[in-house]
Symmetry: C3
Subunit: 351 residues, 3 copies
């Protein structure tokens, strides 16, 4: 693999890319994106937060991406757009061209004769592509990727070193699998058999739809029967566990160390914070946010913002969490009141 170098662009080109308009000289060319205080010649920077507008007077950037409502009277040429953060991401992508250049199928890779490899696919050294595997146009397998028999990988996927996709699993288009991610490991299912356990064969698969990203060392287990499903656009961080027969909706976010137990169904546009989790066999609606470390143990409706373990509305959790460290003094206070009441009762009896 060899990444092509950075390229330059004029503000006119970039404004078109992000759907913005240029204020100032649209022939100015930039080469890099940089934070406002580090930017220099040929750098473009961006401001989303009004409090950083004043910092622009001191910047040495060649251009800035700015929101239309931010008042700025300096001479740095601007690209004005409603969402400078998104524009920044798009400009950064454009300037860095980080798609690796295709290197074809390296001779030292193992590719089964029955595999179907489309145009422009890279299969690097040490990769293994099993029987009847299909890989779509432009996908890139870094060194040491293993695709077992009958796996289907779509177009323009990026599979980093050490990724394993087990037999029969299906990966959509433009999917990114970070290093050592595992797709299709056996679900965790055993039937008690006297003293021990009898393994329940996991004969289902994993289906990963388009535009999903799965983090390093994350694991998505294959279904017992049927499929484990990660829907379009969902982004999963490192070291996340997805149990068998789980269904994760579209455009959902899961941060590191999240664990979703078997057969749970999660909606669209959810967010799971770091070290959060959900038990098995529940249903979580759309637009549910579970803050870091939240643990969901019953089904929850859509449009909720939750935290804690046991799980509760986040606003309640804020109160609870500010009460927890006052628990010892609360106990003392209750003891004090108990004695007061006894005294009062005694005095009443006397009177």
């Amino acid at each position: 693999m060899s990444r092509s170098g950075q390229r330059t662009a004029s503000l006119a080109e970039l404004a078109e890319l992000v759907g913005g308009t240029v204020v100032g000289d649209d022939n100015v060319r930039v080469q890099r994106v940089a934070p406002i205080h580090l930017a220099g010649e040929q750098d473009i920077t961006f401001v989303s937060n009004p409090k950083y507008v004043s910092a622009l007077t001191a910047t040495r950037a060649s251009a800035v991406i700015l929101r239309p409502d931010l008042e700025y009277a300096g001479n740095v040429p601007q690209i004005v757009t409603a969402d400078p953060y998104l524009a920044f991401a798009k400009v950064l992508t454009f300037l860095n061209v980080n798609a690796p250049v295709s290197a074809g199928i390296v001779a030292t890779a193992h590719v089964a004769e029955t595999a179907t490899i489309a145009e422009g696919v890279t299969v690097s050294a040490g990769c293994y592509v099993g029987d009847n595997v299909q890989i779509g146009k432009g996908s890139y397998l870094h060194p040491g990727v293993v695709l077992l028999d009958n796996v289907v990988v779509g177009a323009d996927c990026l599979l980093y070193p050490g990724v394993v996709v087990r037999e029969e699993c299906r990966i959509g288009d433009r999917v990114i699998l970070q290093p050592n991610a595992v797709i299709g490991s056996d679900g965790f299912g055993f039937a008690p058999d006297g003293e021990g356990y009898f393994k329940i064969p996991q004969v289902g698969i994993v289906v990963i739809e388009d535009d999903v990203e799965i983090g390093a060392c994350s694991c998505v287990d294959r279904a017992a029967m049927g499929q484990t499903l990660i829907k379009k656009g969902t982004k999963i961080d490192n070291l996340v566990q997805i149990g068998h027969n789980v269904e994760v909706g579209q455009n959902t976010i899961m941060v590191s160390h999240t664990a979703i137990a078997g057969s749970t169904v999660i909606g669209n546009h959810c967010v799971f914070g770091g070290q959060s989790g959900a038990v098995g066999h529940i249903k979580i609606g759309d637009n549910v946010t579970v803050v870091a470390r939240g643990g969901v143990s019953t089904s929850v409706d859509s449009h909720q913002y939750l935290a804690g373990f046991p799980i509760m509305p986040h606003k309640d959790w804020l109160k609870v969490s500010s009460s927890i460290n006052k628990l010892p003094e609360l106990r003392k206070e209750v003891n004090r009141l108990s004695k007061k009441i006894e005294e009062l009762e005694n005095r009443m009896k006397e009177s």
Copy 2:
């Protein structure tokens, strides 16, 4: 690797396999196991729960596995057995024949001349088998498995892609290691040495007994001295951490993201739920269940059902967890009572 296809079986054969009896035509042949509402021609389904018996009237399955005490008067041929779930697992295993067919030692694998490889072993492309490694009859190494020097692997093991077993470690018979599992990484031991730390060499090993399964990206650290031990029949899920010199008993279950710190000894038939943990240097008895997220920080006796952090009996945890979100109102109530008492005291003084 090439999995052989599914096969069919008569009810007579399957009844013998699971130790059940046939009610109806025992020549009926089935090919697949399917859930009751999805089953069709040539499928066998199973019912453990009385409430699903009525669903059998509508099923299109060719046969059903049933408990003897469940009353069912329909015409679907039955296999009657005391544990339909276990029978289901056995039938599914039989019909799917998921043991891969041996492919021998592939030329592109690295196998040391001093390694001893039994009959029927598969060593796939990209595997590394070090000096003096022994691999027992019928074991299957998927692509990219690494066994460092002096490792011993028993018979009929299944090692998935990316598994690493470090030097000297010993794996029993019928052990399954899911993709990217790591056996024998260094235990985490350092001696303070002025400003920094001096690494304590981890010169022990890991011993994994027969019929153990270790999940994807799970790590079992080698002992500082002596051995880390996972006993017969224990099943460990994905992303679990087992520290150095830990001993896990027989037929114990550990769900994803569990972490057991160094030198802790765990008994037989325990269950650790997801994201649970135990500190180091403690002893946990037999038949101890630690519910998801439970954190054990002192030794515990056998036959307990525990939850929470700090750990407590599960029945206490249910009460505690239903009290936690009422903590803010409890504080308010205590404040209210405090004022009331002050008022009462003042009135008493006046009177």
Copy 3:
């Protein structure tokens, strides 16, 4: 790889190694380190804890490492030193010689022509070394290590099987990366874009300084821009997540399943217990200890000993954690007091 065998040493040699003095015959030779009750002929043991001194009367060890203030009158020859535990670690390291013997660059490894490999480096079977990679003197790559383009690895590093270091990242000298560790995976950054998310290219790198150790299946994400930094001497256990642009100070310890979110800065000599964590964009001072499961959600000053979630001083956490399971009875008590007060009020009205 072939480890050279164990060697023997005289007490005179070992005393010099650890900076101690010999009491008894300094020509006695030992070969192994063993715990006091297991030690036999040719073994050396050590005693740090006064309560084990008496056990020395029964030991069959050939020598013992002892603190100068421990009173011992037996005949076992001694090495007397202020820190027997550190001395034990040094003696164990010396006797085990666990540095693997260089095996050179194996023909079946993929090494780019543009890579620069110093003397005494081992590149094992199935490794991949990309364009312009530099590897320093004496470093050892076990089978299946992948270093993508422009990676720099220092001298005397030990990279275990399945380690992945992505493009541009920089590893110092004497760094140890346990199996399947991932350095330089993409940071988790996305900009909302209508219904879905637009990936923010992660164009920064990871810098790992000298004498760092990273555990099995741990992940250190590359920076969005700039660098994620792990400073000199820091030791990270298995399955730990370090987010993009995090900075971890020198000689800091992180136990298994710890997760540090993006852009957080951690000082020197910190300790993070197992399953602990820190949110993003905060600053944690020097010499901060976060006990197992502690969750840090705001910046904290140096020299603190913290626990719990929400985080609090450990001494407070001890009180809180001993109060949590008394919460249900506390609620009952408050109810009882409430009724008492009502009674008192009613009686007052009557009187």
